[in-house]
């Protein structure tokens, strides 16, 4: 009976965890569109989806890194460097395929460098990626100052190609997110990443190559960053001219909110988590829009994102403690 009641409790808690983010999103959506009824149009939804496409792609890579217990602060720098290198290729009239290949290569290289720093040299991911963000940013700025950076205006941005209300860049982002979910949920590589992230000593004792797994996660993240930069490049034809700190902050907030680093049942909820990440990205975007509308300032958006991140971390911490208490690890020996 005790076991049964425990299971029921777990199920209730699981349902609440699963429904929390979607419910919050629904509430924010209702509040937002209640205040702006004229915005309930297909065009506005399409532009809303397009605005979160880049973040969704970045978040899918970052969720793997955070899944294996790391962090990446160099996202902005990577995207900046990739876009600059792509514009360099495009400005020299190279073929589009070569431009894309250059972007992918630079992304992979950035991911590899981060992975090597963390996995091989053993530098803490916080320090390694923080330092490498300056390296990538510096390299990109050097290229820009050397005149390599050229703005290339595109005739048909990806966001203008739509399937119903869904723009192409958003669909690409969903595909990348689904691929990440598949990798996490259905491949042994994904299980190994989750094992390393949740209990590294146990994973090590089970014979996993921790460094190799961490390195592969960073490399995958570099690849998704390259895809995000491509989407940015294809939409706008020109790049950001500095490291976009809001991008990094939003990505981390979305992953934390999307429950990827929490103690949910992994087998059941990887799919749910991926959906949560997508919902969290949309939620963040809407919260930023709301804050922009209320305070009429772009800087308030960063504050909003930070506050949401703090709240998400606090909630994460609280959930962890509760789960650990209830799992009864502490009183093993007394049994």
């Amino acid at each position: 009976m005790k076991r049964l009641s425990g299971l029921c409790g777990n199920t209730r808690r699981g349902l609440w965890n699963d429904a929390f983010i979607p419910l919050l999103l629904m509430i924010v959506l209702l509040l937002f569109f209640h205040g702006h009824p004229h915005l309930v149009t297909a065009l506005y939804f399409s532009s809303l989806f397009s605005s979160i496409a880049q973040l969704l792609i970045i978040v899918s890579g970052l969720s793997l890194i955070m899944g294996c217990g790391g962090i990446d602060f160099s996202i902005g720098g990577q995207v900046f460097l990739i876009v600059v290198s792509m514009s360099l290729c495009a400005g020299r009239q190279t073929s589009p395929a070569l431009t894309l290949l250059a972007g992918l290569s630079v992304g992979l290289l950035c991911g590899c460098v981060n992975g090597l720093l963390v996995a091989v040299l053993g530098v803490p991911s916080f320090i390694a990626t923080f330092a490498s963000s300056f390296v990538f940013n510096g390299a990109a700025k050097t290229l820009v100052s050397a005149g390599a950076y050229i703005s290339v205006l595109t005739d048909t941005p990806l966001s203008s190609i739509r399937l119903s209300v869904f723009p192409l860049d958003f669909l690409i982002a969903l595909a990348v997110l689904a691929l990440t979910g598949f990798l996490l949920n259905r491949t042994y590589w994904g299980r190994y990443i989750l094992a390393v992230g949740t209990n590294e000593p146990a994973a090590r004792r089970a014979g996993l190559h921790i460094g190799r797994i961490q390195w592969s996660a960073y490399t995958y993240s570099g690849l998704t960053n390259a895809l995000a930069a491509m989407v940015l490049f294809a939409n706008e034809g020109l790049a950001i001219t500095s490291v976009d700190t809001e991008l990094m902050l939003s990505a981390i907030a979305a992953v934390v909110m999307g429950n990827s680093n929490l103690l949910c049942d992994i087998n059941r909820s990887v799919r749910v988590k991926i959906a949560h990440i997508a919902a969290a990205v949309l939620l963040l975007r809407l919260a930023n829009l709301c804050a922009g509308e209320v305070f009429h300032s772009d800087y308030v958006q960063q504050i909003t994102t930070s506050v949401i991140l703090f709240l998400a971390f606090a909630l994460d911490r609280r959930t962890r403690r509760r789960e650990q208490r209830k799992s009864g690890i502490a009183d093993w020996k007394s049994r």
């Binding site: 989750l194 992994i266 087998n267």
Partner: protein, 458 residues
């Protein structure tokens, strides 16, 4: 850790008079001087010839640098040279000429005598040889010939020098000189095998002494022991100790070495080796804990460790099936994608093995009790089937039912050919039924205990 240059594993050598070596298990490591003592010449001679690759064993296997040797020549084999004091030296030549005159070389063409002499003066000074290079070899006493020939072997980058049947006396200065040179050369990478029928000479020069009697290896012990200890170890009087010594040196049935830890630091001294053979269970009681620390450094895909604490054995967030396959998921996946059916089968087999089906419905391992967690970790080891398993001081963490499970897995692993070593820092009776039990007695020696050989009762 020193490399093993030569190893005889269960070696028999037959001659016309009968067996000169019987079931010899002996290793020669890098940077060591190994003495071989035998009253009669046959065993020493046969062993020297085995090392020099002039003879093949009648039974058993000889390994050079870890590879079995069957008579073929290869560049990877260590270079071996016999040193006898007159093997490659010419009495009528000067010292520097003797050093440069390699075996098989006809003359000293393309050599500038003046520059060579200068080189030799430097060399002699560096190695502490108080002679002039111009001096004729015949002016030196015979014991110094050995010294010169060892130096020559070193210049020719010989890996193993075999000083065969060394029985020359000298004054204290000559002896010290030769010993210093041997130490110096062995520290620079050369291994020296000295065979003799004079025990006191071997004690003077060797690091370890192997005691042969009627072709059988009785004992190997460090040469630094006091005479009383040496006598006690070399000629054990008590029947129990004799039996224990025999058990210690006796190769395990169908023996094949899976893992060798040549320098196991137990107690204050170092230098005792531990060898694990196929299908045997060894228990090592090490109160100081230094052996356990040393063993933890061993790496290899076929070497596994089971160690405390039990909280770090499984990943709680993964399902029992995932935990059972952790580290081996490649086997239950196709092109990287996990297949559910093999995992389900493994889980069902595990449930049958454990005798409980509570794992079948679980999505994670959070609420499992310690015994269930240890059962998952042990079954994973069983699936992984390592060649060598070290159980590091797990007794403290295990309750009786978990211990029973552990012994069950150990039994299954040893039956299927793995070697298992139970390392415990407490000197308690494991009741594990180990084939060999060693107690680190603080003097740097692994002492075999008489309780070895009991079969377990699980």
């Amino acid at each position: 850790m020193r490399a093993e240059l030569f190893r005889a594993q269960g070696v028999d050598v037959l001659s016309e008079q009968g067996a000169v070596l019987r079931n010899i298990c002996l290793s020669l490591y890098e940077n060591e001087v190994l003495g071989v003592y035998d009253v009669y010449n046959g065993g020493k001679q046969a062993l020297s010839e085995l090392v020099e690759r002039r003879r093949l064993p009648s039974a058993g296997t000889v390994f050079f640098s870890g590879l079995p040797y069957s008579g073929e020549n290869a560049e990877t084999l260590p270079r071996v040279r016999r040193v006898s004091g007159h093997e490659t030296l010419n009495d009528s030549l000067s010292l520097w000429e003797n050093l440069l005159l390699r075996s098989g070389q006809r003359g000293l063409k393309r050599v500038s005598p003046r520059s060579m002499r200068r080189c030799m003066v430097t060399l002699f000074r560096e190695y502490g040889i108080p002679f002039s290079p111009e001096q004729a070899l015949r002016s030196l006493p015979p014991i110094d010939h050995f010294m010169l020939e060892l130096l020559k072997a070193h210049l020719e980058r010989v890996d193993i020098a075999v000083v065969s049947d060394f029985n020359l006396d000298g004054d204290s200065e000559q002896t010290d000189r030769l010993r210093r040179l041997m130490r110096r050369l062995s520290s620079e990478g050369m291994s020296i095998l000295v065979t003799s029928h004079r025990f006191e000479l071997l004690r003077r020069y060797a690091d370890r002494i192997a005691l042969l009697s009627n072709g059988t290896l009785l004992k190997i012990f460090p040469a630094k022991l006091s005479p009383a200890d040496l006598l006690k170890r070399a000629f054990p009087g008590a029947a129990g100790e004799e039996a224990a010594a025999r058990h210690h040196t006796e190769p395990f049935e169908s023996a094949s070495v899976l893992c060798t830890v040549p320098e196991l630091p137990v107690g204050e001294a170092a230098g005792t080796g531990l060898t694990l053979r196929r299908g045997e269970l060894v228990e090592l009681l090490d109160p100081s804990g230094s052996a356990a620390q040393h063993l933890k450094l061993r790496k290899g895909s076929d070497i596994c460790f089971l160690n405390a604490p039990v909280a770090g054995l499984i990943v709680e967030e993964l399902s029992p099936a995932d935990n059972l396959c952790l580290g081996m998921m490649e086997r239950v996946s196709r092109h990287g994608v996990l297949r559910e059916r093999p995992q389900e089968l493994i889980l069902q087999e595990f449930a049958e093995w454990y005798g409980s089906d509570i794992f079948l419905e679980r999505k994670n391992c959070r609420n499992l009790n310690p015994t269930e967690r240890i059962a998952i970790a042990l079954y994973r080891l069983r699936l992984r089937h390592p060649k060598v398993l070290f159980c590091m001081d797990v007794r403290r963490e295990l309750n009786p039912s978990s211990r029973k499970l552990m012994l069950r897995v150990v039994r299954e692993l040893t039956k299927s050919g793995s070697a298992v070593c139970l390392v415990d820092t407490n000197d308690g009776d494991y009741e594990s039924g180990a084939d060999r039990v060693f107690v680190a007695d603080g003097s740097g020696i692994l002492k075999p205990r008489e309780s070895a050989g009991k079969r377990w009762d699980v």
